[in-house]
């Protein structure tokens, strides 16, 4: 089995007093094991709903979501699903439950009823992975937003998930905190083989992914490598997304007659490409 998550013809509605809002309709998507997927989309595009369907926090009204082949509608295997796919949310303050960092990280494993030594070992290892081991005895409210978010990630890692879904984990962080969290996520994927689904507004974070999806009104409107997706800046703008300044620069220069290959994102690649074009 190659896919860790499979959406088969999923439909999901919100109902309120006035009307039903269809968020997803006949939605299909496969997430490969070990992959790093970034999902982009403006507010209200259905990103967060999609995330919560991935580990059974929301259940589809029709169709099915399979996690390692297990249907998320199967109540008996719900714990199995949630320990396979961990979730990290936007606001770090809403995700921390204990008054000491290591106790917070231990919360999940303790609830699994694991032996003491196993919990100790998992907590230490998770804190080391997110570079927060030296803060294990600190009080979470004394930490910065980025540090708190890494504690939240450590709490998820301590459950030994195969996949982590992160719903705008850096939206409330400053640039330094943002970069620390992104570096941590990247490391989990590359060094620990954990499948990552990252939902974000920050386009430059897409460069870390091996697959980028653009979601608009509950539909996937683009699906490809970062280079493929970012080579269509007009399309991204029309989808209500921002493009990185680097991509915009290349696009504007190309309009004025300089020649580049498309979809360049990083600062170094951009500078190298411009240097080559100027020296032609």
């Amino acid at each position: 089995m190659n896919n860790i998550i499979e959406f088969n013809n999923v439909t999901y509605n919100y109902s309120s007093e006035d009307a039903d809002y269809i968020v997803l309709k006949d939605f299909n998507l496969n997430i490969k094991k070990g992959s790093f997927t970034v999902i982009l989309g403006h507010n209200g595009s259905g990103k967060s709903t999609l995330a919560k369907l991935m580990n059974g926090l929301y259940k589809p009204q029709s169709g099915s979501v399979l996690v390692n082949g297990i249907n998320t509608l199967d109540e008996e295997l719900d714990l199995k699903v949630k320990s396979t796919v961990g979730m990290v949310f936007q606001n770090p303050d809403n995700q921390i439950v204990a008054s000491v960092v290591e106790e917070d990280v231990a919360f999940g494993p303790e609830n699994l009823g694991l032996p003491q030594e196993e919990i100790r070992q998992r907590v230490d290892s998770a804190l080391k992975t997110v570079n927060m081991y030296e803060h294990k005895n600190d009080m979470p409210h004394k930490l910065s937003g980025g540090q708190k978010q890494r504690i939240a990630i450590a709490g998820v890692i301590a459950m030994l998930p195969e996949c982590i879904v992160l719903d705008e984990p850096t939206a409330m962080l400053d640039p330094k905190g943002r970069q620390d969290v992104i570096d941590t996520i990247y490391k989990l994927n590359k060094e620990h083989g954990i499948t990552i689904v990252l939902i974000t507004h920050f386009m430059e974070q897409a460069k870390y992914a091996d697959r980028v999806l653009v979601l608009n009104n509950g539909e996937i409107t683009a699906d490809g490598t970062p280079i493929e997706v970012f080579s269509k800046p007009e399309f991204l703008k029309n989808s209500g997304l921002d493009i990185p300044q680097t991509t915009e620069l290349i696009f504007e220069l190309a309009k004025k007659g300089l020649n580049f290959k498309n979809g360049i994102i990083s600062v170094d690649d951009t500078a190298n490409a411009i240097a080559a074009a100027l020296r032609k």
Binding site: G146, L241, Q245, T270, I274, A275
Partner: protein
């Protein structure tokens, strides 16, 4: 005389206890009528504490705040009139809505300032229009709106008091690009219509480059730099040392200079960069 001037401002948390801590230390700067001042700095650098002084929410431990030359704490009983002239929009203002209807929420400030019925109606209509909230929303509960709409209603509530200085603490945090552009346009339009002064705390160097006339860089409660965006962004090493960076576009040109080109260090927007690179290309072609 400057429009708004901060002189040697110091604020100490938990003063006279063993836990005392200088959140703001000896900060001075000034801003003129109609200018946009951006305040940047990493988390915990004292930005939010600093701006809460500017409309008298916090009283400085030392130093003074002069508005049109008058110390705002000269007449302590009068401090609420300062708050009508210097408005403050907090971080995540959408969590501060509380009235039954959108109209009442926007009207709350003007009402408290003793505006007449007609003035209230007028200012609510104007500020709702400015933030793009249509009159159909006036009788709705603010809690039934989307996150972006809530934020705009909250901003309208401050604009309705027609402040001469308006302070925004991270107005675009957590918004998507459309929401962000909305808010930035509201700020620009209010400034233009009222020749108001805008003070904006932000993490986005790209927004600073596009909008600001002046930039105050805070680090550990102290003023680290003060100047125009071009002046600030031409010293990348100093910015890096306080945990910040220049806009992405400036980094591309610095990298090009490392590769042997000779671009000016004060290019901070995409348009400027496109022009500079095309000129460079033209120069090379003609040579």
């Amino acid at each position: 005389m400057s429009f708004l001037e901060v002189k040697n401002l110091t604020y100490t948390y938990s003063k006279n206890t063993p836990f005392f801590n200088d959140a703001v230390e000896d900060v001075s700067f000034s801003v003129e009528k109609g200018e946009i001042l951006a305040i940047v700095g990493h988390t915990g650098s004292g930005k939010s504490t600093l701006v809460q002084h500017l409309n008298g929410l916090i009283k400085p431990t030392k130093g003074e705040i002069l508005f049109c030359g008058q110390n705002i704490w000269n007449n302590e009983k009068n401090i609420s009139s300062i708050r009508s002239k210097i408005g403050l929009v907090f971080q995540y203002p959408e969590y501060q809505l509380f009235e039954e209807t959108v109209f009442k929420d926007i009207a709350f400030g003007p009402k408290n300032l003793g505006f007449s019925e007609q003035e209230i109606n007028e200012s609510v209509l104007n500020s709702a229009k400015l933030v793009g909230i249509s009159q159909e929303y006036f009788n709705k509960s603010p809690f039934d709106l989307s996150g972006g709409e809530k934020r705009r209603v909250a901003i309208a509530g401050v604009l309705a008091m027609k402040p001469q200085v308006i302070i925004f603490d991270e107005p675009t945090a957590g918004l998507d690009p459309i929401g962000r552009n909305n808010i930035l346009n509201i700020i620009k339009n209010y400034k233009k219509e009222h020749n108001a002064t805008v003070i904006m705390v932000t993490h986005s160097m790209e927004d600073v480059a596009l909008l600001a006339d002046k930039v105050l860089v805070m680090n550990n409660g102290k003023k680290a730099m003060f100047g125009t965006p071009k002046e600030i962004f031409s010293d990348r090493n100093k910015l890096l040392s306080v945990g910040l960076d220049v806009p992405l576009i400036t980094n591309v040109l610095l990298k090009l200079n490392e590769l042997g080109f000779n671009f000016e260090s004060n290019i901070i927007t995409v348009d400027e960069a496109v022009n500079a690179i095309i000129n460079c290309k033209g120069g090379a072609d003609n040579a």
